[in-house]
Structures are given as C-alpha cells and as structure tokens.
Amino acid sequence: MNNLLDDYALASPLRHSNNWVKLTVVAAGVLGGVSAASPVTPLFIAACMGFAAVVLAKVPVKFYLKLIALPLGFAATGSIVILFFFGSGHEIASIDTFGYHLAIRSQGLNMAVLVIARTLSGMCCMFFLALSTPMVELFSVLKTSRVPDVFIELSMLIYRYIFVLLEVAVSIKFAQTVRLGYKDFLTSLHSTGMLAGTLFIRSWEQGERLYITMDSRCYDGKLAMFSSKKPVKAFELVLTSLYVISIIAISFSTKNMSIV
C-alpha cells in the first residue's frame, strides 16, 4: 500500500501528545513565518519544525527531505521570476539575452529569499502537524472547537472511505495495467476515464451499503467522539513557550535586517 502522511502520524510517538500544544506550536510557526520581515525568523521556524518532525516525531530523514523538496521546487521557480522581474534598488547582477536586459536588483533578491524562507517555514509547520497528528485526533479537536457535529461526522465518514475507495482504485488500476490499459497515451486517457467512472459508481454503491449497515446498527444521528484526555507534560509546555518566545524575539531583533 502507499505510504500516506497519515500513516506516519499514526505511528508517530507525538500522536499521544496533547493536540492543543501541537496546534499552538504550528499556529505560532505559521503566523511568525508569514509576518516576519526578514528571512531569519522563517528559517529558524523551519529548522525547529524540521528538528521536531525528524527527532521528536521520528520521521525518516530521507522521506522528510523528499517531502520538503516538492513544495520547495515550486517556491524556487516562483522566486526566480521574482528575482528578475521585481523590485527596485541597485543592480547586483545582470545578463543580456536576445537583446533583453535582465537585472537582479537588491529588493528583488530580498523578496525572493523571503518568499523561499516563508514557504519553507510554512510547509515545515504543516508537515509537522500532518506527521504528528492523525486525522482521528483532529476530529476531537474539531469537536471541542464546537464545529457542528454534521460536519465532523461527514468528515469522519469521508476520511474512512477515502482508504476503502483508494484500495478499489488501486486494484482497478492494476487490473487495467495488466491488460495493457496504459500502453500509450490514448489508451491511458481512455482507461483513466473508465477508472473514474467505475470509481464513481462504486462510491455510490458503497454509500448505499453504508446506509444499510449504519441503519442496521441503530444509527440515530450520533457517531462516537472520544475526547481523549492527554495531559500536557511540563516538558512540552516549557519547550513550546521557549519556542514561541524565541520566534517573537528573533522576529523583533531582525525586523530591519535584509541580505543586501
């Protein structure tokens, strides 16, 4: 089966830590990263979150780097555009191609680095959450945040059947592949269409069966939610406070800093 982020989260030792502590850490990181004026704060946040994910949540380093590389690739392409076409200030470097004069200016460079740093910090924060907190735990967070039950129950059912339908999709795709359903571009298109169509019908049927089974088990509009009691450990509290304070401190002290 595919390795999903949720699988890592379920196996993670941080799964059993208090959800609110983890959410605070992530929220502080995201806000700190986005509001920072210099790239130092986001890089600091990214480093901390990376450390937390790899050391505390025990995510394999190689897998983590691959994970980060993906959004970073996007950010890098975007930054190149920013680098050449944005900002004012003095020229740092320039190239002449086909009669065009492309120049990197100081403001553009600052902006590009900041964008990369912010993307990195934001992604590290979200990955930390995704790798340490399975959906199951988030449902109880939603419950305590007074999100209407209907939404939570729907998301619980959707979450569960993602995996069932994923398995169906994988086996259909496999069955198509062994009968050369993906041998060239046109057949691939056709097969993908069939896969989507079949999957739609399967989910419809699954929905009907789900209705019967829920009814057979006396469904009365209630799904169990357990508000698992996970006391905050002193160690976690200290670490979180230290982290939040460091973000604020670094943010203020590097407010006016820029690379060039």
Partner: protein, 447 residues
C-alpha cells in the same frame, strides 16, 4: 423457545424477480443455525428481512413471538436485538478508529459517555482487541477487521447475531479464530445465524441447517441428516463435506459403518470397532487355533497376548508359536496403546477477573506435577493465562475435538478452559461416552 420465526415470507426485487418465495423458518433461542445454498438463493436478502431493513411483500417476521412493526421506533429495537455482521467488513467499519467503531452502537443507544467507554473497553478486552484500540480500520488485516465488526455488533448486546459469510476472504488461522469466537458467543446464550457455502464448516459447527434454493427453504434439519444426502446436495449445487465423502469411500470398502460422520472425531469412531475384523499380529506366546487373545499395539506392531479384558480381542485362526505371525479373526475393540485422559482446568472468564485471578504458580505446579502429553487452551482468558504461565498450548482451535482425538491415541491432555467452557468439555466427552464409543476419562478442576 422460538426466538425468530417467519411465516410465508415473500420478497421481490424491484425488477420483479422473486428473491424469496414463501420462506418459513423457526429458530430456537441459543442454537447455531447455518443457512447454506448456492449464490443467489436468497440468503442475504433473507437476513436483511430478518432485521427489518427490507420489508416483505407478503408474510411476516416474528421476533420473540411478536410480528415486526416497520415504524422507526420498533425497528430500532429489532435492530438492537438482531445484529448483523455483513460479509464485507469495509461496509460495516465506517468509523475512523476501532474504538469509535465499537462505540458506534452503544452511543446510538443513548448510553452516557462513561458507560460507553466502559462497555467498549470491556468488549475490546473480551475480543482481544485492546491493542488495536486506536488503529484505523485500513491498518487492520482481514481477520482483525472481521473481529472488530463482530465486536461492534456484540457491544449492543443483541439476542441474535447474524453473520453473512463470516469466513469469506479469511486465511485458515483467521477463519478458525472466528469459528472459536462464534462458539464462545453461543456460550453466552446468543443465537447465532450464519450463511455459508462452506459445507465443512456448516456440518461440524451448526445445530440446525437450512438449505435455501431458488428463494425457498429446500430442506432443513440436523447437519448429519442434510449433509449425508448426496441427492439433496447435488440438487442444490452443494458438495458433500470432505468428512462425509471420505466416510462414503471407507464405507464402500467395508472399513467404516454407521451414520455419516460430521466431525473428524465421528469419522475416527466410525472406523474403530469390528470393521477390520481380521488382523495380523505377532504372537507373544504359543497360541493354539481358536484361542481368544488380547491385542495391543507395541511400537507400531500389533501383538497378541493372553486374553485379559483388553480393549481389543479376537480369536486365533491358526496355530502359532511364540514370535510367529498369526491371523486373528473377529477382532473387536480398538487397537491402541490405551486411552488417555482429559483433565480440564477451569480458568475464570475475563469478566470474572481472567488470568489475574489465577495463581500462576499453582498452575505451573499442576503442569509440572502430572505429565500431560498435550495441552489445549480454550477461550480468551485461558489463552492469556497459558501464555502468562509459559505453558505451550498444542491446540487453541477446535480444542475439544483435538483433545478427544489425542486421548484416543493414548495421550493425556490438559485443557485450560475459560469459565463455562470447562463444563462444556466435560459435557461433550460424556455425550460421546454415552454413545457407546470407547470411554475417555474426563475430570474438571477449578483454580
């Protein structure tokens, strides 16, 4: 007491095909019922009618003597009392974790939170699923999923549990575990109904078999009657159980006789006795023709000894000197090196405290003190206790039959049994003994 009954039940699919065409069944409380029949014979449809999911076109379903009403309130009560475990566990496990799923029923019955938690934890413990509590269903194996599905239904404390093809897609170990589980549930006085294509399972497990074919009850009765009828089986596209087929071959060769056996034990019994009436043995002393001699097996060889109330005995066909081979005719009784005994130790059930209430030292002393050739563990608490005491159990599934088979081979067996299952062992052995088969000694001890 009849717990579930249908009268002239008819149901048609939306396209007009008659799925069920006049079904009359009567199910007694506490029995194990198996519905067998080819694909499309209406088993699953019947099950959905029994718990009120489908409404019959004609006829009625009676639960505890009262006809099912199809208003929301009565249906809820019916569904609480009649639980269904569906064939595909994924249809049934819709909650994100095992805990949530088992809690689903109790929550919808409106139990307060602490009660739900207690009930769920207890159920998980009973089914040996505590370790999987926080796992999502897509991380479970097929057997584990099936167990969780059964646990989810069990948590609502239904009177009747219906299982549609409970063993489909399970490996042999997973399947035996589920069968054991069903036997344990029977012990709680639950009525258990299954549908299956597996005639081997139905023949050894069920008390009553219903054969469905073309939307009708084709035949019903004790498995030994249904499954020994070759014509009935052929007409309904079923096959004879392997045991019965083996027996028929033996019977045709004059090796076995009597009623068609339903279990391995029955089969062994059917070949014991007089049917190999002439044996070749090694004489241990000078035997004149016509002398009555006793027979027993010594290291794989049949030995003829002076007759003294041996289990097996016969008359010499010819004169023979000591050490010669001799033909013995009219051999009766079974040739073994003796019959072992079965010693049952009653371990408290999970609800009675389970392995915590067992003095492990006492148990080890018991095992060390007497020499047992085989050890069996039956039921969750017994298995846990055996593991705790470091006792290796030779059989954990089909324990009673395995113990009796071993005893018939002359081995002494120790059976650790949870709660009331201890009495069940004794009862089954006594039942067998009273059938005129070779006696097996069985004793019970409580610790």
């Amino acid at each position: 007491m009849i717990i579930l009954k249908t009268q002239d039940l008819k149901y048609a699919y939306p396209d007009g095909t008659m799925a069920l065409d006049g079904i009359d069944i009567e199910i007694e409380k506490g029995k194990r019922i198996a519905f067998v029949g080819p694909n499309g014979s209406g088993k699953s449809t019947l099950f959905l009618l029994l718990n009120g999911t489908l409404k019959p076109r004609q006829g009625e379903v009676l639960f505890q003597g009262r006809s099912i009403k199809y208003d929301a309130k009565s249906l809820r009560e019916v569904r609480r009392q009649i639980g269904i475990v569906f064939q595909n566990s994924d249809d049934q496990l819709f909650a994100p974790t095992v805990y949530h799923d088992v809690a689903f029923g109790p929550v919808n019955l409106g139990l307060p939170e602490e009660k739900v938690e207690r009930c769920v934890n207890h159920t998980l413990k009973y089914f040996g699923l505590t370790g999987l509590r926080d796992k999502p269903p897509h991380h479970l194996s097929g057997g584990q999923k099936k167990k969780v599905a059964i646990a989810g239904v069990f948590a609502m404390e239904p009177e009747v549990i219906i299982l549609d093809e409970p063993l489909s897609n399970l490996d042999p170990a997973g399947a035996s575990e589920i069968v054991e589980l069903l036997n344990e549930l029977k012990h709680f006085g639950k009525t258990i109904i299954i549908s299956t294509h597996d005639v081997d399972l139905a023949s050894r497990w069920a008390d009553v078999v219903y054969v469905l074919n073309g939307g009708k009850v084709y035949n019903t009765g004790h498995p030994s009657r249904i499954f020994s009828d070759r014509i009935l089986m052929e007409n309904t596209k079923l096959k004879l159980p392997t045991i019965v087929e083996t027996f028929r071959e033996f019977e045709a060769r004059g090796i076995a006789d009597g009623h068609a056996p339903m279990t391995l034990l029955d089969l062994v019994d059917s070949v014991e006795g007089p049917y190999i009436s002439v044996r070749c043995a090694v004489a241990e002393f000078d035997i004149p023709k016509g002398q009555r001699v006793g027979l027993f097996i010594r290291e794989g060889t049949i030995v003829a000894v002076p007759y003294t109330q041996q289990e097996a005995a016969g008359l010499a066909l010819c004169d023979a000197g000591a050490g010669d081979e001799v033909l013995i005719e009219g051999v009766r009784g079974s040739l073994t090196s003796g019959t072992g005994r079965i010693h049952v130790v009653r371990i408290p059930r999970v609800m009675e405290g389970g392995s915590k209430n067992v003095d492990i030292g006492d148990l080890q002393a018991l095992v060390d003190g007497a020499t047992f050739d085989r050890v069996g563990a039956m039921g969750t608490s017994a298995k846990v206790t055996a593991a705790k005491a470091g006792i290796h159990s030779d059989f954990e599934v089909d324990v009673i039959q395995s113990a009796m088979l071993s005893a018939l081979r002359g081995l002494d067996c120790l059976v650790l049994a949870s709660g009331g299952m201890a009495e069940l062992v004794k009862q089954r052995v006594d039942e067998r003994n009273s059938n005129g088969c070779r006696n097996i000694q069985c004793s019970i001890e409580k610790i």
